[in-house]
Subunit: 309 residues, 2 copies
DNA sequence: GGAATTATCTGACCAGAGTCAGATGTCATG
DNA sequence: CATGACATCTGACTCTGGTCAGATAATTCC
């Protein structure tokens, strides 16, 4: 069985290097070597500091510098000092650079679309791709606070509601549930956290605060492609950390028996079942967890960022 | 939706080029440049003629020649004349070359295994990989006659039986069915055809002959990863062609209502429902198709090979 | 202020991959 | 056997990606 798994894996990697490698080559065909095109794209996608780009693309500093100079000479990129640290430099696309970047985007999109269009069962194919991509890059899932009324949150919530509708025996309608306002899940009262795998949102959780010491955890969702990677646990740990920063001392949540994996997670991480505390028609089980006030930090540990384990 | 699909596709290709690209690099780490390693591997995998290797790897003839000379100098490869055509040359691994090739195989396998082992839900991941790989290389699925008692057939049949067991309301046991002998599905009486996508068998069909003009089509199966690509239709067309070559004039088959997609295929391609013709307990529906004797071929059309459309 | 660290740049260098034109020997055909 | 097509080889060349050592300037730490 093991050998067979390996055969399948290797077949996959052969298929993908020959086909997707061709996609990569779409960076070409514009008369620019791959290296320059990659740098142009990294900048276009919002990477601004030279060092950041270098790390992202895994380039040597010498090579990086030369590629940048090349793009500068072509008039596609401008370099400026970093405001706070004059050693660093910030790269920005010029108008011509923007145009060129958008051309690459158009070519890449067209190519991807052409490949996708040839396939029946497109949704199944995309789901398989999501699963593989998430598995391969599982270590690079990052948690970021987001606007609960923004696009990423909307994407997650739509998927979350659709899943509830599928799994609840009586279906699910948002309107009938106690839908928190965006304001309750935004700082300073609460928070909304999105887990990103590259550019795909693969999970979320909301912290619905009232300004007082008690807050509710809502909307915990993990994309099917990202299940089994401990992401729910990580989202919960993060939401707790955020709550502590907001001086919240007690967290509550409600859930439904149709979501047994959620109840299991709560039971296994310090939550206690409590009596019903709201009248949400979809809520069946209720949990509470009191979170220790932030202990006196050892010096130099302040300002921890979202990257947990 | 379209844009979103493209985003997902492109995220996939980024994930895969960065991670699987590293797998490709496992060819390295043996002090040999990628080009030579690729040639060595192509030969190890059974490609023998220089031109064939060149086409497969997409190399320029000059480059190819130099890589071969390098491998020859290392004592890994021997070149001999092609028996029938002295312009061509045949490459063969020496004993040392075999050893080196096997080392690469071991490294690749180990690397693949390491990546796989990190993942929970391994089977789901592999299925997703199969689906993606098959979709990407759908044009390169080839049909090959195979030994019905061999490994590839065994793989297909095991998957086929497992699927019947899952889908038949009362389950399925091979022993209770009319299981054809391997001899009945081998030339000159019958045939067994396996569809290969790279090195993975993704479909099969058997032709169970008796030596007479009537034969039965059995064991039509397409791997989940390859469904929706018209492969069943292609397998059926191929089995008909083989039957014609064996001077068979009437084909029969039986099937089960739990497999509606199969019945739909038969109805749509010239098969007529007929009364029960055997006592197989799993058979519920019976079909027959009379296949025209091979028409007088236009000159120069003889010896058509299995590659249909 | 001085030392160590950090971010970037510069110039010199290298190897791999690939291109190209032409050479060589072989085959198929009339 | 002359011709053109074919398979491979050879040598000269380019481009790209990548390494390395050291220069330069700014920042941080003591």
């Amino acid at each position: 069985m093991t050998t067979d798994s390996v055969t399948r894996f290797r077949r996959f990697s052969r298929a993908v290097t020959s086909e997707v490698g061709a996609l990569d080559a779409s960076f070409l065909g514009r008369g620019r070597p791959l290296g320059s095109a990659r740098v142009l794209n990294a900048i276009g996608r919002g990477r601004r500091e030279v060092g950041e780009i270098r790390d992202y693309l895994g380039l040597d500093s010498g090579l990086m510098s030369r590629l940048l100079r090349g793009l500068e000479a072509e008039g596609l990129v401008e370099l400026a000092r970093h405001p706070g640290d004059a050693r660093r430099r910030i790269a920005r696309l010029t108008a011509a650079g923007e145009r060129e970047f958008r051309t690459y985007e158009r070519l890449s999109n067209a190519r991807a679309l052409r490949l996708l269009e040839r396939h029946p069962r497109r949704e199944a194919l995309l789901e398989a791709m999501d699963l593989v991509a998430t598995a391969l890059t599982r270590d690079r899932i990052v948690l970021v606070e987001a606007d609960p009324a923004g696009d990423a949150a909307g994407h997650c919530l739509a998927a979350y509601y659709a899943e509830l509708a599928r799994r609840f025996p009586a279906g699910f309608e948002v309107a009938r549930s106690r839908n928190p306002e965006a304001a309750e899940m935004s700082p300073p009262r609460g928070s909304f956290i999105v887990a990103w795998s590259d550019e795909l949102p693969v999970g979320c959780v909301g912290l619905k605060g009232t300004g007082g010491p008690v807050a509710e955890v809502k909307r915990l969702w993990v994309a099917p492609a990202a299940r089994g990677l401990g992401l729910a646990r990580r989202l919960m740990a993060e939401v707790e950390a955020v709550a502590r920063r907001l001086s919240i001392t007690t967290l509550r949540l409600d859930t439904n028996r149709a979501l047994p994996e959620a109840a299991r997670l709560y039971c296994g991480s310090g939550w206690q079942e409590i009596p019903r505390f709201n009248d949400d028609p979809y809520a069946e089980v209720f949990f509470e967890k009191s979170i220790a006030p932030e202990e006196a930090r050892p010096p130099g540990d302040g300002g921890r960022k979202e990257e947990t384990s």
